[in-house]
């Protein structure tokens, strides 16, 4: 009986302690997987005595549908593909951000992207991370010189050794660049030419893979090249397989960006803005850049002070100005063109 009493007392004390240790507040964020790294989130939670509840999603459509079905106030923060910020703004789900609080003067100027983040002049989101959809490859299996020219990447020489990243937007951007069409100039008339290039790419590909499958394909030797890959695909594999690397071909690459914003209707707008400020701060940016889910370049240049030389080398920090000069932004089609591009992509997949 004494034992039972002791156990009950101990249990009660533990419960009291646990309750006492609970955060005073909660913040709900709809994010990509790189934000779920505890090394990124815990410092913010500790500094603000808050519990950040994170939910991952795939695809802007799924996120918008989820937000439409939620009550105002359910969600506080949204991480979204840079090119889709306007969709969230059109849907009226993002709140204006206090621009003076955003350290965009410290950013790589090429990724500030006011046209995306402030479509009507008001800032609704801020770029937090960027990288390239380009060519990842196994340096032991391919001729590295071949990787500098997109047309040789998907030539007969590498038939059956290519995997294509399963997202139509950057891959069609790369196909357009190989055809000499700037991503910003893609129109319905360009799709025939892009479709032919996609078709060639597809006929030489062994798979069209999501992030994990593309990494698995490279790591297991199933594929030697991933079209649409980049630092975000191979950086986390670098330690174990340094032969898995990436390059930006002569024709260039597509820059991906992700933005972060505060949701309209948030019941904790100040805390949500604090979270955005933390993520865009040099410390937060360094942690986000090297997240265990995927790596990518921080938008804020000052993150360099918080990254190790090895991390900067993997991110190719010193090459960024060159890379950004060669790279083009994601295609930004209107809704009709977007549907046509997606149909073309699905047609090509089901060849």
């Amino acid at each position: 009986m004494k034992k039972l009493t002791k156990a009950l007392l101990a249990g009660t004390a533990l419960t009291a302690l646990t309750t006492g240790a609970q955060a005073a507040d909660e913040l709900n964020a709809l994010v990509w997987c790189d934000h779920t790294d505890p090394a990124l989130i815990q410092p913010f939670e500790a500094a603000h005595d808050v519990k950040v509840n994170l939910r991952e999603y795939e695809g802007t459509g799924a996120a918008l549908a989820l937000l439409e079905q939620s009550r105002p106030g359910d969600w506080d923060v949204l991480v979204i593909d840079g090119i889709d910020v306007f969709r969230a703004v059109e849907a009226g789900i993002l709140a204006p951000l206090p621009e003076e609080a955003l350290p965009e003067d410290d950013f790589f100027p090429q990724v500030v992207l006011k046209a995306n983040n402030a479509p009507d002049g008001t800032a609704y989101a801020v770029t937090e991370k960027f990288g390239y959809n380009t060519i990842s490859y196994n340096a032991d299996k391919v001729d590295e010189a071949d990787m500098q020219d997109l047309s040789t990447v998907w030539s007969d020489k590498y038939a059956g050794k290519i995997s294509i990243y399963d997202y139509y937007m950057p891959v069609m951007g790369l196909a357009a660049m190989a055809d000499g069409i700037a991503t910003a100039d893609i129109t319905a008339d360009s799709l025939e030419s892009i479709g032919k290039t996609l078709s060639t790419m597809r006929s030489h590909a062994i798979s069209v893979a999501d992030v994990v499958s593309a990494q698995t394909a490279l790591a297991t030797g199933e594929a030697d090249i991933v079209v649409g890959g980049g630092e975000w695909l191979t950086a986390v594999l670098q330690a174990e397989q340094p032969e898995l690397t990436w390059t930006i071909p002569d024709q260039g690459a597509v820059v991906w960006t992700q933005s972060i914003g505060v949701l309209a209707g948030s019941e904790k707008p100040d805390l949500a803005v604090e979270f955005v400020k933390y993520i865009t701060s040099p410390e937060g940016q360094a942690r986000l850049a090297t997240s265990s889910c995927f790596w990518g370049m921080p938008a804020n240049k000052l993150a360099a002070d918080h990254l190790t030389p090895e991390q900067k080398e993997i991110l190719r920090w010193d090459n960024q100005e060159d890379y950004l000069a060669k790279a083009q932004l994601y295609p930004a089609p209107d809704m009709d063109l977007d549907i046509e591009m997606q149909d073309l992509w699905l047609e090509t997949l089901s060849q």
Binding site: E58, G59, T60, G61, A62, L64, A65, R87, E90, A91, G160, S163, D166, I206, S207, V208, A209, D210, V212, S213, T216, A217, T220, G221, E222, M335, D338, I339, Q342, D343, L346, E347, L349, S350
Partner: protein, 283 residues
Amino acid sequence: MSLSRDTLRGWGFTAPALIWTLAFFVVPFLVMAAMSLATLEGRTLVWGLHADNYRELLEKRYLWRAVVVSLQITLTVTAVSVALAYPLAWIIAFRVPKRWQRLALLLAILPFWTSYVVRSYAWLTVLSKEGVVNQVLLSLHLIAEPITLANTRFATVTGFVHFFTMLLTLTIFANLIQLPPNYRRAAMDLGASAFQTFRHVVLPLTLPGIVTGAFLTFVLCIGDYITPQILGGNTELTVPQVIMVQLGRRADFPLAAALAIVLMGLVTLAYLACARWLRLDRI
């Protein structure tokens, strides 16, 4: 007129199941059917009686191709799984001593204990160019260089068959052990060979178990997204994959709902084809 006590009690017992069916099947189905007749204007959902989504299904090659691919994969998986599961169930039911049967069944369903996603990725590794299968074939000098097994329809079918053979083994085993041994003995006494006994006695009597398992395989396989997505390498698209694209990027719920209705139509056809032999109580 007052309802008798028995009637009230009957309603009391069936009400939870009825409410469950209404809330989680009938109402969602009606919403989905209505959604399939709605349309998107810009990004705005417009309710109404539009046939646009079904017309699109006929006009866009990749959409009806997805239906064909789904059917081809599902029928192949069902046929191969039945062909593998029947002998396995037979051996467990009639060849394995009674005291080992439970262990044999446990071993047969062991793969169910691991995560479906993990199992699919495991198959991807096994079937890759550096994987076990290619390494064994190479070491036996049966092939000169690694062959492509992963990211193919073969890989998708293999992943499915691994899972559904276990399911079918259970349904067929349940049917086989209900078969009185005297039936087989009587057939043999009357001069039937082992094959004739199987053909004219055992097979017809175990057909309900086979068809029930095959129907479940059809239903689960045709609606599965994970296996073709991971193992098929997007080399061809199935209906669930196309549905996910509509939802993930476009948020085109009307077209996704129309595709889901088509899937339900295929399942209904399968049910009608199997209805004569279906004995769901035998599971």
